[in-house]
């Protein structure tokens, strides 16, 4: 594994989690539906979405959750573990349509971000608590959340 492992001692309150960029597309929604088993047509059928008061097809909340999980698991590396995870789907996000079979149309890009809120040793576990969120193209936090991770210690 090429990636450098991060340790408890490397992290301070206020440290930033490296930003993860994502583009939600209708194609990604279909892929996500198939892989996750969530076939709610709200996420891929325009006419059904029109009945739901959402202003059109919206990105699966759980897909945004999975982006945030990736943000965290990319950061904590192979020796890190996620202990707790939470997020709320506060704002709706609207996927880009496809311009070609493989390329999305121009539009919004989403940023997954995080900062370290607290660190502590509890029951021998080196715990780091983070605030995490998904930001839409306007910089609005549509999906705020939090994660508690266990990091390896250099002293262990």
């Amino acid at each position: 594994m090429a990636k450098k492992q991060i340790y408890y001692e490397d992290v301070e309150v206020g440290s930033e989690v490296p930003t993860l960029e994502k583009i939600s597309t209708t194609q990604m929604a279909v892929r996500w539906a198939g892989a996750s088993g969530d076939f709610n047509p709200l996420h891929w059928d325009e006419s059904f979405a029109a009945t739901q008061g959402t202003g059109g097809i919206i990105t699966h909340g759980a897909l945004k959750r999975a982006w945030l999980v990736q943000l965290v698991t990319d950061w904590i590396g192979a020796e890190g573990r996620v202990k707790k995870f939470a997020c709320q789907y506060r704002g709706m996000d609207y996927p880009r349509r496809m311009a070609t079979m493989g390329d999305p149309a121009e539009g919004e890009t989403w940023l997954c971000k995080g900062t370290v809120a607290n660190k502590k040793v509890e029951d021998g576990q080196h715990l780091v608590e983070c605030d995490i969120w998904v930001e839409n193209g306007k910089g609005e936090k549509t999906t705020p959340g939090s994660a508690t991770v266990i990091l390896p210690s250099k002293k262990a």
């Binding site: 594994m1 994502k22 759980a62 959750r65 990319d74 192979a78």
Partner: protein, 159 residues
Amino acid sequence: MADESIMTDEIKAMIGTLSEPVIMEVGRVAIRRYADAVGDENPLFHEVEDAKAAGYEDIICPPGFWGWPIKGRATIGGMSIVGAVLVKAGLFRILDGGVDQEFYIPIRAGDILTAYSKIADIREREGKAGKMIFTTVETTYLNQNGDTVAVNRATIIAR
């Protein structure tokens, strides 16, 4: 009119309801396909050798993935338990509100999970768009050894 509760007795009576257990098979293909759908190339979710080097028996699930149902129907946050009752009460606009999860043991390819869901709470709240019903479905996942591997609390918002 605006002050009228949208909570029906039938909805309220759902609190405490248990679902039929759902059996989830955790296969390598399912894990990889899920990670691919997210655009997540983490080798722990793809490469057996990398997962083994990190001390796991096989590739592991990204936290929040529970495999694929082989018995029973797993719907988002146990929506199947309350969905019909909410729709019957005229609350047909149903959204996923969020999750709160605890992970105890990493889930790996080869695991067979049993998921037990219950309606932990149902409450009415006033939002920008008027009154809404918030339902919390708590799902506990056990592995083939009987160990609790994770607990997932999902919030469903209906209006």
